[in-house]
């Protein structure tokens, strides 16, 4: 189907361009490590404290590192007016959203996968006891951040102080998904499976992702054309 092909073309383009320069992903990796380091000074990493805050800590790191990548996403279309060419092409806004969203997701997820073992080392935590469940939570949580971040990346691309405006606008909207992801991650890192009370958070992640992906698909054209 042409739509899917267009999405793949855009995703491939973003990833190829990023791999050539590696600007955003290197900065994001480095930032994740630095934040992990600094947070370790914020408290005494005893086993109990670490266990309580592990989910929160991880998602703070993921959020900050991810923001760097989300900021870059539409900013990379500005030089040479490439965004004009994308808008003029017979590509539906939804395809552009999915194409860029998937590319962002891949990049952010890559940073997260690297940050996890570093977290384990710095804080002396065995985090892989519920590995696949944790990966599921990371996928759902990261997609929620990515969906909102991609739409608002397009919205803020021409605003002055874009690097400040993007986090300022999206972080409050992301609170529910961060909350759910943090709660689930804390339990999963501690080795607890998802059950009973925790299911409600998983449902929240699914629901959030569905609602905001749908909204983004519908509103992307409006954001691009202004």
């Amino acid at each position: 189907m042409r739509f899917i092909r267009q999405v793949m073309v855009i995703t491939a383009k973003d990833l190829r361009a990023e791999m050539r320069t590696k600007e955003a992903i290197n900065a994001s990796f480095a930032f994740a490590i630095v934040v992990l380091l600094i947070l370790s000074f914020a408290f005494e990493p005893t086993e109990d404290t670490t266990r309580e805050i592990s989910g929160g800590l991880l998602w703070i790191v993921f959020l900050f590192a991810g923001t760097l990548i989300l900021n870059r996403s539409f900013a990379r279309e500005l030089p040479n007016d490439c965004l004009d060419a994308l808008i003029a092409a017979p590509v539906p806004g939804a395809a552009l959203f999915l194409g860029k969203g998937l590319a962002n997701f891949v990049l952010i997820f890559a940073v997260e996968i690297v940050a996890l073992p570093v977290f384990g080392i710095f804080y002396n935590v065995r985090w892989a006891r519920q590995f696949w469940a944790l990966i599921l939570v990371m996928v759902l949580g990261t997609w929620g951040l990515t969906a909102i971040g991609t739409v608002f990346g397009a919205l803020t691309v021409n605003i002055r102080l874009r690097e400040v405006m993007l986090p300022l606008l999206v972080y409050p909207i992301m609170i529910p998904i961060l909350l759910g992801a943090m709660k689930l991650s804390t339990e999963l890192v501690a080795g607890q499976p998802i059950s009973g009370d925790l299911m409600v958070w998983l449902k929240l992640l699914f629901g959030f992702d569905i609602i905001f992906t749908a909204l983004s698909l519908v509103l992307m054209d409006t954001v691009l054309l202004g």
């Binding site: 004009d84 060419a85 590509v91």
Partner: protein, 234 residues
């Protein structure tokens, strides 16, 4: 009866409450080449971008081949060159063209891309990254990108500005070929001489109003500034 390539009917464009374009009624039959002239700030870029579908009129209607410029079919038939070259610095020439060929759904993206690299004299640098290109090369690649998908309507915003000689030659050739093949061209320009060479029609914009539109005459070719003198404000 075939639809006009471009038809503006009573078009106004507002920024907030301020009209940048006032009551523009303009028709370009298919196969013509319209030179859109006017001082800076007259509204040429605004009008061209509206024809390309980047913005909507506040009042009135713009139709391209009888349909809205934003419809997928119409977008397929429009080629636009704005102020930027709209190709990616981090990709190579062939990668850029391949990308756009695929986005436009061309049946053989590789062949179309290679063909246009040749036509713009860039086949020797096909694998070179755009960021390493000279200015003229970048502009030729921009031309390749805009013409790649065989658009029926070409919208060019000051295409001759700051081109080197080779790029000018390439653009003129490509435009002549397109016109010979029955395509339509609308270009805004300061370079009156190059424009009058190719143009079949001329329109003058003045403070957002269409001060003149009509066919190119001998007078205009002989003295490119004639239209300004007759219809423009000083």
């Amino acid at each position: 009866m075939s639809a006009a390539a471009v038809d503006c009917a009573g078009v106004w464009k507002f920024y907030g409450d301020y009209p940048a374009l006032r009551d523009i009624s303009l028709t370009v039959p298919p196969g013509r080449c319209l030179a859109l002239i006017g001082r800076n700030g007259a509204g040429k870029t605004t009008l061209l971008r509206m024809l390309a579908g980047y913005s909507k009129p506040g009042r009135g209607q713009v139709t391209i081949f009888g349909k809205s410029p934003r419809e997928t079919d119409t977008r397929q038939r429009i080629g636009f060159i704005g102020h930027g070259i709209a190709v990616y610095d981090e990709l190579s020439a062939i990668e850029n063209l391949r990308l756009f060929a695929r986005l436009y759904g061309l049946p053989d993206p590789e062949r179309s891309a290679s063909e246009w690299l040749e036509r713009t004299g860039l086949e020797r640098v096909r694998d070179g990254l755009v960021r390493e290109f000279s200015r003229g090369m970048r502009q030729r690649l921009a031309v390749a990108r805009a013409f790649l998908h065989g658009p029926s309507l070409l919208l060019l915003d000051e295409p001759f500005t700051a081109l080197d000689d080779r790029a000018i030659a390439v653009l003129q050739t490509v435009l002549r070929d397109a016109l010979a093949a029955g395509r339509t061209v609308v270009m805004s320009t300061h370079q009156l001489r190059e424009a009058m060479d190719l143009a079949t029609n001329v329109a003058l914009l003045n403070h957002g109003r269409l001060a003149f539109q009509g066919e190119r005459t001998e007078e205009m070719v002989k003295d490119p500034g004639w239209v300004y003198a007759q219809y423009g404000e000083s």
